[in-house]
Symmetry: C2
Subunit: 413 residues, 2 copies
């Protein structure tokens, strides 16, 4: 049997780029980036745009109770669909392709199949999931986590953002509190196309990454309570300085990655001090620790070392330290069959290809709990991501969509 | 010649405490502290209260162009007054006595002299100065600095707060853009009564500190520009993490105080990150460094070491670092004659007394540029200051006011 690649079917690059451009207008930042925090007005506008395209393409659109949206193209047979998709929400300082690319490329696959009059045996489904970034509502990948039964719906609907807004209320406000049950239907296989968000593919001059695994993620919020006091009259040895303690944690995390080496990552992206005044020793600090590793044992070691450091710090500085887990996902190994298909299809299309690891969390890791799943990466220029300067070459955007097209065809035939 | 102490004249403790209590109602926090940031509505209310008391006591009230207020009680002779006073603004998490105590005690001295029908040879003047804390408008001690000619009036009026509000506008809004020229009249001597804001007097069981000198202060704002990127996909060695760099500065400052030892203090009270998200490496950081030392050479050494560290940090992390000086005051040696008088009067009143150093900046250090000046300290419970829990025992508040009363009488006789 010939593979589908030999048919000569390809995506329409101009139409793909045009849709990406139009989606990027919703929540556009003056610096060329995008701010579509989950369930804000900008996110709603982006969702409405994608849903409108789904309807234009003849997809059967369903919104579930956590706001995940899926558009299905019927197959010759009923039964579990082959699904692709990603998310349309972004971080506050987001780029144009993170998430959007996977959704828009899924629509382009459907458009190409429609144009060519190609039927598939299994249904094809293009989905986007609620609140993947976690930048507004924690944890990240919230919509897909609920979808696969990893977080009870009621709990997810009750999550609040930093300003106290409740996710369920925001979902209703946006018109995306759907009535479809979460988690149905069964999925035959899932493929997510995404920009790499890292420097590896570009550095090696490779166009396609067949993503075979994904780092584990540990997110904690660390709250430190010290004693506010005058910066000019309090001897150093008598201080209980929450600000210094917060800085010491961030400093420790850097040292930890050096000591553990390998793939260990650690980031302190949030530091808030109170009262945050130049001449007052901080009473309180709130900071976050983002730890990632492809190896679960190593990740646990990092968590344990951080916990031990926090205990020692509390003793040394006379501060109280409490931690709250915001997210914890074990490393994921994707389905070898799906990843093999991606690699083979990419090769047949004439693209350079290599196995890849995802450093970021993705909806695909949630879907991997319930069906065979893997991901396709294309290069990020300069490895830059979560930044308005995030970019990918047009030929790479088209190449990834072609690989997605034929991977889905193989899985759905 | 007998000293004035022998006259038996004392302040009215109940009246002193009552005025302190009433002033603390303006800008009162739920936790018992006070928030009267300079030239806010709360500060205006506090100012209005003090001015009303000045008028009740028969003082001649003058407001100058930077909003400093002085109320003068005529002497038998004209000529330069003996001045006392402090400030009524507070930090956001302030206590009830920092600044207010010196102003209210000055009024109580006038009240006691009025009640007893005591005339002085020189005029007596009770003053409060604008924006001593620097918590809203930098530099700190702004009003008294302008008063002694250390900062041009126009420059001071143009200072902006973090929200962009202009000091001159806020002064007009509050009704304290006075028409008196800044800096007149000449002052014969200046005495400021203040809570210690540190732990020394309490620890040694001493009631009165005769303050003979004051630390030098160096305030800088440090801005760091790195590169925002994804916390999960950016290898540690490729990061330009402004958040880590900020933490490294705060961590360095602590080590610096250990290495320099002596009286060196260093505080990082402000840390702001952008975008301040858990899974984004920070693009920008803004933090403050507050360095203090009683020895000017040592303070310069600390500044030089910080500058060298920042240069190295910029190279190591691939970030750009810029600094902006917010305030710089050399250590001050107060007038020995005035401090001797304070110590002698305190002893004659039966109070324990010791020489003291001020760790905080005070308006008295500005007045010391133009006239003999010194300060009186009373104990702070637990050494706590710039904190709603700041407190001083009532008997110590009364003792300090008695020492102020007779010190002023000696200087004005």
């Amino acid at each position: 049997m010939d593979t589908s690649v030999a048919s000569g079917l390809r995506v329409d690059r101009a139409r793909l780029l045009d849709r990406l451009e139009r989606l990027a207008q919703h929540g556009a930042r003056a610096d060329g980036g995008v701010c579509r925090l989950a369930l804000t007005d900008a996110d709603r506008a982006g969702r409405d745009q994608v849903v409108a395209w789904m309807r234009e393409l003849g997809l059967d659109v369903v919104v579930d109770a956590i706001g995940n949206v899926r558009g299905t193209r019927a197959g010759r047979e009923a039964g579990p669909p082959v699904m692709t998709g990603s998310h349309v929400d972004t971080v506050a300082t987001g780029g144009r392709y993170d998430g959007s690319y996977g959704v828009v490329a899924g629509l382009e696959v459907v458009a190409a199949l429609n144009d060519a009059g190609v039927e598939t045996r299994r249904p094809l489904c293009v989905a986007f999931f609620t609140g993947e970034e976690g930048a507004r509502f924690a944890p990240d990948m919230l919509g897909s986590l609920v979808y696969v039964g990893g977080l009870p719906l009621e709990e997810a609907l009750a999550v609040r953002d930093a300003g106290g807004a409740v996710l369920g209320d925001e979902l209703r406000r946006c018109g995306y509190a759907g009535d479809a049950p979460v988690g149905a239907p069964e999925v035959h296989a899932f493929v997510e196309l995404h920009v790499e968000q890292g420097p590896v593919l570009e550095a090696e001059g490779v166009t396609i990454g067949a993503v075979r695994n994904l780092q584990g993620i540990s997110w904690q919020e660390i709250a430190i309570e010290g004693q506010a006091n005058h910066a000019g009259t309090t001897p150093m040895r008598l201080r209980h300085d929450a600000g210094y303690a917060a800085a010491a944690v961030a400093h420790f995390l850097r040292g930890l990655t050096r000591r553990l080496g390998g793939d260990q990552l650690a980031t302190c992206g949030v530091i808030d001090l109170e009262p945050n005044l130049i001449n007052v020793i901080a009473q309180r600090a709130r900071l976050t620790a983002d730890l990632r590793n492809t190896d679960e044992d190593a990740l646990r070691r990092a968590e344990a070392e951080l916990a031990a450091f926090l205990e020692q710090l509390a003793r040394d500085e006379g501060v109280t330290v409490s931690t709250r887990r915001l997210a914890r996902f074990e490393p994921v190994v994707f389905d070898a069959g799906v990843a093999d298909t991606i690699a083979r299809v990419a090769g047949e299309l004439g693209h350079s290809v290599r196995d890849a690891t995802s450093g970021a969390g993705h909806d695909a890791q949630m879907l991997a709990r319930v069906c065979p799943a893997a991901m396709i990466f294309v290069p990020s220029i300069g490895g830059i991501s979560h930044n308005p300067r995030e970019d990918t070459a047009p030929e790479h955007l088209a190449a990834g969509a072609d690989v997605l097209l034929h991977t889905l065809l193989e899985l759905a035939r």
